[in-house]
């Protein structure tokens, strides 16, 4: 049996399993505490300090995401000292942040923006130096704008702990601290960076520092309809969200898939270009006199059925083999399998992702 502890947060008594953090207890009690660097799936660095709370008897203002909930603990999540601290730390982040919400792709889904709004914090509380890093957009998939990075380190941990690629880490000190691949290289220097462009780092970035290149400028967050589906490319069967606007797929973002969580690979996340590709066939083609000419579906299906029937009659069903595509949906692959086994009568059916 798991032991429980009971604590009081803002006057609300809440019981949680021993070993829970104050943040988890607050979430359970329905009390809002902002977080930047915390992610339930990743290790806990306690770095951003936006989640601080006041706990009488404890030194300073502890970070709730890394403070264990204790029996009888009394927590204030919104005392004047806490609010002052959160506002000041937000002001400090904004003081070194581009004032770019208007054209930023993260607008509407950005934690920094959301908390700034919640606490009424504006740009410009501190004047002084700002970073001016060049935009990194020299690879086909991911755009990095380190001027927007708040150094929460989630991308570092996602890449290390989930993806296992260890591309990123902190470099330099103090105000010049920077999240970067080894030797201050770029993602595109794959020899050094080891990046495989899975884009899993994007999925955890709380601000607009990491973006899917092809989605930039295509839609505001609230215009996008997310359609959860399953990746057709391989047997892992990752789930993700198609981002759809005006009946067009703009891109893919992570969802919380049963098998994959938020993790995807480069194909699943970025290999959707075929969907609206102009070279895609829209009608069947039949070769006549060495040339493909357009045909109707009835024509085409009739032709295939005839030819397959002939072969089956002459050489038996096992003379036929079917190789299906990973780019069609699983439902379609299922039907292909039925066609092979039930209609034609052969077990010669395979799928390219098994290769």
């Amino acid at each position: 049996m798991v032991a429980n502890v009971t604590l009081t947060i803002d006057g609300i008594r809440i019981t949680v399993p021993k070993g829970s953090t104050v943040l988890e207890a607050a979430e359970k009690a329905g009390i809002f505490i902002p977080t930047f660097c915390h992610d339930p799936e990743l290790s806990k660095p306690g770095a951003c300090r936006i989640c601080v709370v006041e706990i009488p008897g404890m030194r300073n203002l502890p970070a709730s995401c890394v403070t264990e909930a204790m029996e009888g603990m009394v927590v204030y999540s919104a005392s004047p000292a806490v609010i002052e601290a959160r506002k000041t730390n937000l002001e400090l982040l904004l003081a070194n942040h581009p004032e770019d919400c208007l054209t930023c792709n993260k607008n509407g889904d950005c934690r920094l923006q959301e908390y700034a709004y919640y606490y009424g914090v504006k740009y410009g509380a501190f004047k002084g130096e700002k970073h001016r890093y060049p935009l990194e957009d020299d690879n086909p998939f991911i755009v990095r704008d380190m001027n927007k990075c708040i150094l929460c380190g989630k991308c570092v941990r996602m890449c290390e702990e989930v993806q296992g690629n260890n591309v990123l880490n902190f470099a330099f000190r103090g105000f010049n601290a920077l999240v970067t691949p080894a030797m201050n290289s770029k993602y595109s220097d794959t020899e050094i960076s080891n990046c495989v462009f899975c884009g899993n780092c994007i999925s955890v970035c709380p601000v607009g520092a990491l973006s899917e290149k092809d989605m930039l400028g295509k839609a505001r967050r609230w215009e996008v309809k997310k359609v959860t589906t399953t990746c057709p490319y391989c047997g892992v069967g990752c789930q993700f969200d198609l981002n759809v606007k005006d009946n067009k797929v703009l891109g893919v973002t992570s969802t919380d898939g049963d098998v994959n969580g938020r993790a995807l690979c480069v194909k699943g996340r970025f290999g959707y270009g075929f969907i609206h590709h102009p070279d895609r066939l829209t009608t069947p083609l039949i070769k006549k006199d060495g040339k493909f000419v357009e045909a109707t579906w009835t024509e085409a299906i009739k032709l295939v059925a005839e030819k397959l029937g002939d072969i089956k009659a002459k050489d038996g069903p096992d003379a036929i083999g079917i190789l299906s595509s990973a780019r069609v949906t699983n439902e379609e692959n299922y039907l292909m399998n039925k066609l092979a086994r039930a209609v034609i009568g052969t077990n010669n059916i395979d799928h390219c992702a098994r290769l």
Binding site: C48, N60, A81, L151, N169, R173
Partner: protein
């Protein structure tokens, strides 16, 4: 169990023989070498060889009077040891001729003498009664400047490794009790009770434990740990061995900054010697206890002195602090229970085990026992290393030991604890030096750096200096420290440039509070102290910069106005010729004047004027 009795008797005999000869000992700590000690040593050797003298030539480390290096000690057999100061290479010949050949000390170069059993020379201060040493104690520093730090013979002959011998004969908890009884608190800055810390690690479950020594010493102006490592490396090893035995560790690491090459060399030598003597390695003295020590050279980041960043660094990770808890006592190096102590803390341990916890607790105050090593630097006459009993006053340190302020100027403040500490003003000079009194003043004991400031120091400038340091050294992990130090530094810079506004003081106040309250590690939590204390004790100086656009100490160049006093100016014209900006005009033999719009505040004219007619304010 084996003991060291035979070895010790032999080494004591050898040590006695060495002391019984005519001797020349050159101070070769980093301070001695920096002042030219190597050249002095070379000249001593040449001179002795050329004259065919029968003298034992030896070297030692820093005795503490860094301001008198290079130092040379000369003793004739049966006569007092005389320690000379400022012995640059060209003085060696005369010194040897007089003291060794003619048997007459060179009185005007002598700093102190140590008579031992001999009759003292007239006219040379006896060490314990000299101004510098009278109020000091020499316990953890007792071998510094007195023995050869590269000789295990000297160490063992002077009681070295008696502590570990004694420790191995008792149960492990008894050692921890002895340390608790001594009242020893961590000398690395935090002041955590050492015995209690050892108890935590002893109690922590684990198949493998470590003892780690923090020799990072990153505070600007601090060199206590370096002096101990260079002057008595075996004492640190012995302290770590005792800790290792007490908590059940079989491996130790010394994390020493790479900028201390001499300390690292002497530590390596000491480790090799201890291994040869069976004092490090497997089954030490047949006791069943095994212990090894490795050295990890750190790359000199201040934050790597923070214990969890230090552990990360040893593990090969980036030197960034971890959240605590878990504390190193439970999850330290490679997640194993680890005791982590400062150099000076460890160096105290063999003495406590040898003489007992009660002996140690006799020194000091109720809550701060024993002695503490300080480094006195800044605008004080005698800069150097000193060991004082806890509870001594700042006044004693600065005015008795330190010999007061340079050039007869007025004392203004002393910064205790480096960038994590605070500025203490004159009205608190009689504060007792102990952990709690210093904390009450907004400063901290820190690791023992004391920087003295006089009336020509601008306190806003001082705060700026320390903030510049912490801003550069912040690891960048957490928001308040990474972003906040930068903004505080910018505000201080604006104030020094005469562009400050009164709201800036409130903003500084708020940033100090929020950074202290929310930063992840000690670096961030304490970095506001220099600002908070200067605001508390020298607020008017901030206001002078902001409201009157004036730097009272005359330091902040943007705020200085150069003017010529008409009643003093003779119209010699020297300033006119020195001014690169062509800002000075005036009739020959008549009073001159400076055009403040043209003046670039270079200060050239002040230096040229023979009549003190030009002032900056």
């Amino acid at each position: 169990m084996k003991n060291l009795d035979q070895v010790r008797l032999k080494y004591q005999e050898q040590y006695k023989q060495k002391l019984g000869k005519n001797r020349i000992v050159v101070g070769l700590g980093t301070c001695g070498i920096a002042a030219g000690g190597d050249k002095v040593m070379q000249n001593v050797k040449e001179e002795v060889a050329a004259r065919g003298l029968d003298v034992e030539i030896d070297f030692t480390s820093c005795i503490g009077m860094c301001y008198r290096e290079p130092m040379v000690e000369i003793a004739l057999a049966g006569a007092p040891s005389v320690i000379y100061g400022d012995i640059f290479a060209d003085k060696v010949e005369k010194l040897i001729e007089s003291h060794i050949v003619n048997k007459t000390p060179v009185y005007e170069w002598a700093v102190i003498q140590i008579p031992g059993e001999a009759t003292p020379y007239e006219g040379i201060d006896i060490m314990e009664k000299s101004a510098y040493y009278e109020k000091q104690v020499r316990s953890v520093t007792s071998r510094l400047g007195r023995t050869n730090p590269e000789s295990i013979i000297d160490y063992i002959a002077t009681g070295g490794y008696e502590g570990i011998e004694k420790a191995l004969q008792v149960e492990r908890p008894a050692i921890i009790d002895e340390i608790k009884k001594s009242g020893l608190r961590g000398r690395g800055g935090g002041g955590f009770p050492t015995g209690t810390k050892w108890q935590f690690v002893y109690d922590a479950r684990g198949d493998k434990k470590y003892a780690v020594c923090n020799a990072d010493e990153g505070d600007p102006g601090a060199f206590m740990d370096r002096s101990v490592l260079e002057g008595d490396p075996h004492s640190v090893l012995e302290g770590m061995m005792i800790a290792g035995y007490a908590i059940g560790a079989d491996e130790g690491y010394i994390y020493c900054r790479a900028e201390y090459p001499l300390a690292i060399r002497r530590l390596n030598l000491a480790i090799a010697q201890a291994e040869e003597h069976g004092l490090l390695g497997d089954n030490i003295l047949d006791s069943g206890f095994s212990f090894r020590i490795k050295i990890k050279a750190g790359a000199g980041a201040f934050v790597c002195g923070e214990e969890t960043a230090l552990l990360n660094s040893i593990e090969g990770l980036r030197g960034m602090p971890r959240v605590r808890p878990p504390f190193p006592a439970n999850k330290g190096l490679w997640q194993k229970p680890t005791v982590l102590n400062n150099v000076e803390t460890y160096a105290n341990v063999p003495f406590i085990i040898r003489y007992g916890g009660d002996w140690y607790a006799d020194m000091g105050t109720e809550m701060s026992k024993g002695s503490k090593v300080f480094c006195l630097t800044g605008k004080v006459n005698n800069t150097g290393l000193m060991e004082v009993p806890m509870g001594i006053t700042l006044r004693d340190i600065i005015f008795s030991i330190g010999g007061g302020i340079q050039d007869g100027k007025k004392f203004k403040a002393v910064q205790s604890g480096g960038p994590s500490g605070g500025c203490i003003p004159a009205e608190h000079l009689d504060t007792s030096i102990d952990y709690d009194s210093l904390t009450a003043l907004g400063a901290i004991m820190g690791s023992g750096g004391l920087v003295v400031m006089d009336e020509t120091t601008c306190m806003v400038d001082v705060a700026k200096f320390f903030l510049n340091f912490t801003q550069l050294e912040s690891c960048g992990k957490c928001t308040p420290c990474r972003e906040g130090t930068k903004r505080m530094l910018e505000i201080l810079q604006r104030i020094c440039d005469g562009k400050g506004e009164m709201e800036d003081i409130d903003t500084l106040d708020r940033l100090c509070r929020v950074i202290k309250n929310t930063a992840l590690c000690g670096l961030g939590q304490t970095c506001p102290n220099p600002i908070a204390t200067t605001l508390r004790y020298f607020r008017s100086e901030y206001e002078a910069h902001i409201i009157d656009k004036r730097c009272p100490a005359g330091v902040c160049s943007a705020l200085l106005v150069y003017t010529i006093l008409a009643n003093k100016c003779t119209g010699c014209g020297a300033c006119v010729r020195s001014c690169p900006a062509g800002a000075i005009t005036g009739e020959k033999k008549g009073p001159h004047a400076i055009d403040t719009d043209k003046c670039i505040k270079c200060g050239a004219c002040i230096q040229k004027c023979k009549f003190d007619a030009i002032i900056k304010a």
